[in-house]
Symmetry: C2
Subunit: 276 residues, 2 copies
């Protein structure tokens, strides 16, 4: 997003998959961990260790519940002594909706989820981009360079004769900011809807089909139909489901159950890139 | 070996590879860890955690230097609370040749290696099998059933007339016991030769080719040629090389350099089964 990489969760083998896919990590500065179950964190130590061997120097920020540092730091001390970069733990409180990261172009928010351990999803929100200058009009009105930044932000221009030139004559609107929400792992919870309303893309877990509704409740996971219901009620533009139970070798049933509720559902698959 | 599974080292993604290959783990009771570098241990926590989800009940023994327990136990406490089996740490002293495991049919020994941290290889040695009974001869000499176990172990038989029947008439020899040695990670060290003399199969690391001889010394790894020299001098029946540096995309050069010294060299490759 905006020339930066963000990683969400890091299960065992993440670095191996990234190498298989030729994904470089030189723009990865922030990793967000939804909750402290093994399938979401066991890949961290290997990833960090390999960054050390590759002589990474940029700080690596890990946003997670407080316990992660307690678990990971002893491993870092033992296996990653002397690595040439800092691992910085940023503590999240998964129980609240909160802005947990911000830079010039992106904000990230935590979304409280409902799972067996404290868990949060993440909302990635682009900040509005500058408007696009219409070069010919800038030349025509002889607008000095130093005024351009303000005009990009929407200001009108008043020339030496005191004539007001409306911004809409000088610029075209930017692409609308994109919003992406990741919600895993979680039981069905309508409380998340206000936070993800209208996002460009929602990833929502769909561990089970309807045949395992009881098990989905016991384990605090969602069915495909429930994920789709959230997508529908939150009026999202696109829903990607994932985190399927290993029992579903063929995932078509999951997709069908979701699509019966919300047609804009996509089956999330390993090693696949989804453009938002 | 003899209907049991042993695992040597457990890097990140081990459980994933095993699933890909359809390897079941119900006979895996003992894991041997050569040294505490990440690429040899980061897969343990995920493996154990998955065993817990699969409701394994049999004890799992991990043979390793003392520090492993210090590193792994806090992770087990956090991520694997309530798993239905015991993880038992068996402490190895990697600096000595020692019998570290034994049961009815197999012994395992530690082999001190030369690496940047305390490291040992492992020698797996079958115990001699029983001799094979020649059924017709047992019937012919009317040997009672209760004498069979001793005869399988090589005893002669004396019948009621006091006549001695030599064991060679009653049995054929068993298959000779197999011996397999694993030596990784290690710099070239002839000190290991007495321990691995004549083994049926030696796995020896071969991280580099001759072009990186200096680096192999600095990092305390071996070249393919050095691995082959050990194989030759120890008169092993078969040498498998492995643990190649990622710089060698094509591994043929490694094999050629090894074979120039010791022809019975095989290129160890991922996801491949080698019969000993």
């Amino acid at each position: 997003m905006r020339d930066k990489q963000f990683m969400i969760d890091c299960g065992e083998g993440t670095q191996i998959r990234m190498r298989q896919m030729g994904i470089r990590t030189n723009r990865l500065g922030h990793i967000f961990i939804s909750h402290l179950h093994g399938d979401h964190v066991f890949g961290l130590i290997g990833l960090i260790s390999s960054f050390g061997m590759l002589n990474r120097t940029a700080d690596l920020h890990i946003h997670a519940a407080a316990d992660l540092e307690k678990i990971l730091q002893p491993q870092l001390d033992f296996f990653c002594e002397g690595i040439p970069f800092k691992v910085i733990f940023q503590i999240i409180n998964p129980k609240v909706y909160d802005k947990i990261f911000e830079d010039r172009s992106v904000s990230v928010y935590s979304i409280p989820l409902k799972h067996r351990v404290p868990t949060c999803g993440f909302l990635f929100e682009e900040k509005p981009r500058d408007r696009h200058i219409i070069r010919e009009m800038i030349d025509f009105y002889k607008i000095p360079t130093w005024r351009i930044p303000k005009i990009k932000q929407g200001e009108d221009f008043i020339n030496e004769e005191g004539e007001l030139i409306k911004n809409e004559l000088l610029t075209t609107p930017p692409e609308p900011p994109k919003r992406y929400a990741y919600c895993s792992d979680t039981a069905y919870s309508e409380k998340i809807i206000p936070f993800i309303e209208g996002v460009d893309c929602l990833y929502h877990e769909a561990t089970f089909m309807n045949d395992e509704l009881k098990r989905s409740k016991d384990t605090q996971h969602s069915t495909a139909e429930q994920a789709a219901t959230i997508g529908l009620k939150a009026n999202v533009k696109k829903l990607i489901i994932g985190h399927y139970s290993a029992r579903y070798v063929n995932k078509n049933g999951l997709l069908q159950e979701a699509k019966s509720v919300f047609d804009k559902t996509i089956l999330g698959e390993d090693m696949t890139v989804y453009e938002i």
